[in-house]
């Protein structure tokens, strides 16, 4: 039972993605990030490698892997860049996964092959301007059935992958009645569906994040995903799993900080010696490695429960909390090790610093994770 050794195949996947990140992502991502450009070529290459199909069965073009395989890929990508990693994470766990888990046979047959191959992306429209953690309290978007068409009205915020040239649709959560939430597929380009311009973000600058508005948008009744009124349960499931994925991505960033520092401290000299010879630097790096390692164990443990079909809500929350803290702490320490260079955008650690903060916010803030952990321990709601 206590064995965190990767299988030969998992290790081979990890190495393949590690090499891809080093050879294909690392040389170009700095420029894309600086210009805020979506990495279309990298997404296409990831599609060819089957990364968008990792946790899906082969019948719809998937790779026949599992959610842990996705996590391994996310960790390796994020060691080099988080914009690319979050594009994959959102594409798989927020874009394709709701269709795979809850969609009809027709929806799966229509959408999964193009999503699992990475030719198209889908987005998940949950968060709204008036509420992040406060779902459904802050949610205002509605969908009402008019004959055989849903009519959607409302707006969504911070929606990843929603406005790329290859975005196929957004799965929108909306009130379909009093206290009744459902999810509905709204294809990009549907009249009344406006994709706002890209946000100017502190980090994840090469990823696509937008505000969306829906004004009497009409889509066919069969665009309902799963059962009417099951939207709340659906997105809780999607977010619970997604936390393990974000934890993996955070571990990647935390490890990337260690990678960069190990390289740098052997080259950089100060006071006549390589800085890696100073204990002050060595201890910092030892702490960074400790955080990355601990956080990795946390997400492996959560993923193990998910794959075994056991409850994993608490473990996922712990993994997300620990890993996002590790990412933030390591990014701060790595930039400190790099000194002035760490403040320059051309160094990866500067990018890591900008990318780390959102990990303590997105897919459930650290406060929400603590709340979930407290609830799992039987402590009463406020």
């Amino acid at each position: 039972m206590i064995d965190f050794t990767l299988t030969t195949e998992q290790e081979e996947l990890r190495r393949t993605v590690e090499r891809f990140a080093r050879e294909t992502v690392a040389p170009v991502i700095g420029d894309l990030y600086e210009r805020g450009e979506f990495p279309y070529d990298i997404v296409a290459a990831m599609g060819k490698m089957g990364l968008f199909g990792l946790p899906f069965p082969e019948e719809h073009g998937g790779m026949g892997g599992d959610y842990f395989a996705l996590c391994l890929a996310l960790e390796e990508l994020a060691r080099v860049d988080s914009s690319v990693a979050i594009t994959l994470e959102a594409g798989v766990s927020l874009g394709a996964m709701p269709i795979h888990r809850f969609g009809s046979d027709e929806q799966k047959a229509r959408w999964l092959p193009v999503l699992t191959s990475g030719e198209r992306l889908a987005a998940f429209g949950l968060t709204e301007p008036g509420g992040g953690s406060d779902v459904p309290g802050g949610m205002r978007t509605t969908a009402r059935l008019d004959g055989d068409m849903w009519v959607v009205n409302g707006s969504k915020s911070f929606i990843t992958n929603s406005g790329t040239d290859i975005t196929a649709f957004v799965t929108v959560t909306a009130f379909t009645g009093d206290g009744e939430i459902s999810t509905i597929i709204v294809p990009n380009g549907t009249p009344g569906f406006t994709v706002g311009k890209k946000y100017s973000k502190v980090g994840w600058s090469a990823s696509d994040t937008r505000e969306l508005s829906f004004e009497d948008v009409r889509v066919p009744a069969e665009n309902l995903v799963g059962e009417r009124g099951r939207g709340y349960a659906q997105f809780l499931r999607i977010l619970d799993e997604g936390r393990i994925a974000i934890a993996a991505l955070s571990v990647g960033l935390a490890q990337g900080c260690v990678d960069e520092c190990l390289r740098y401290v052997r080259e950089r000299e100060a006071f006549g010696r390589e800085i890696g010879r100073y204990q002050a630097i060595q201890f910092k790096i030892a702490d960074m490695e400790t955080r990355a390692h601990t956080a990795r164990l946390a997400y492996y443990a959560a993923a193990a429960r998910l794959l075994a079909g056991e409850p994993f809500k608490k473990e996922a929350a712990i993994a997300k909390l620990v890993a996002s803290n590790a990412a933030m702490d390591n990014a701060r320490d790595a930039t400190q090790v790099f000194g002035g260079y760490g403040f320059m955008n051309e160094y990866a650690v500067g990018r890591f610093y900008r990318d780390a903060k959102i990990l303590e916010v997105g897919e459930g803030t650290s406060e929400v994770q603590r709340m979930l952990i407290a609830r799992a321990l039987g402590l009463p709601p406020a």
């Binding site: 030969t8 195949e9 996947l13 490698m49 089957g50 199909g53 790779m63």
Partner: protein, 259 residues
């Protein structure tokens, strides 16, 4: 089409490589084994030929048991099956002996086309394709950066110091490739999982009909008599631009045959 691709496992060029002091052979335990980089292009070309013309891609590897890692990776990229020539008697074989051993193994697999990288990153002799085709009595097309197959005809473009040669031959043939020929694919997870189930045949000297007296360190035609560590990298050459910087750079590149 029966496509055989020769894959060699070599020490990772990113880790320190050294020879052993006792017998001057490569210290394979000192570094991680990876597929010889140019052989990845050979695998990709083999897969492309299969995709265009049908047939089967067989990976043929000579090397110690550890080389199965590289075989599995080649299978994950999409090759159909593998033959692993592994025997203590082969250790320390030079290029001449290797070409003999591969020839014998090819007698078991048969072939329409044998594809390999134009050299390995460890020994860098770059002679295997020529030796092998001579032994097999088939045409050799070396240093190819473009290959087209039409029925039993093979057309290729060879990279030379002065430009390109366009050559034609009839199959069966031996083709060595350079890195400009294609972009090797990364294995997909499905490929990685499928590789587990693909057949890998292990051959010893006797299975392949290899005469033990013609292979191995003791019988090698060449001998490493001495070796030394590579000198530390010398300081780069600094060219001061006095209005002719561009010309000087072009001159430098031409002297190194980059342009």
């Amino acid at each position: 089409m029966n496509i055989v691709v020769l894959v060699k496992q070599v020490p990772d060029t990113e880790s320190p490589r050294k020879l052993k002091s006792d017998d001057s052979t490569l210290d394979r335990a000192a570094a991680d084994g990876v597929i010889n980089e140019l052989d990845e292009y050979a695998i990709e070309e083999a897969l492309k030929i299969k995709e265009a013309h049908g047939g089967e891609v067989t990976v043929l590897t000579m090397g110690p048991a550890k080389a199965t890692d590289s075989i599995r990776k080649a299978l994950a990229m999409g090759a159909d099956k593998a033959v692993h020539l592994v025997d203590d008697g082969l250790a320390g074989s030079d290029a001449l002996q290797t070409s003999y051993a591969i020839q014998q193994a090819l007698g078991r697999t048969g072939f329409d086309i044998v594809i390999l990288g134009s050299e390995s990153t460890d020994a860098r002799t770059g002679v295997l394709a020529a030796m092998l085709s001579e032994r097999l009595g088939v045409p050799q097309i070396t240093l190819a950066n473009k290959v087209e197959i039409d029925g039993s005809a093979i057309k290729a473009q060879r990279v030379t110091d002065y430009g390109y040669d366009r050559v034609e031959a009839t199959l069966p043939a031996v083709v060595s490739v350079v890195e400009k020929i294609n972009e090797p694919r990364y294995p997909s997870f499905k490929g990685i999982m499928a590789a587990k189930k693909k057949p890998v045949e292990t051959l010893g000297l006797g299975d392949a009909g290899i005469d033990a007296a013609q292979v191995g360190l003791a019988n090698a035609a060449t001998e490493v008599v001495d070796f030394a560590d590579a000198p530390a990298r010398a300081q780069g050459q600094i060219v001061t631009d006095e209005g002719d910087g561009g010309a000087k750079i072009a001159e430098f590149l031409a002297s190194k045959k980059f342009v």
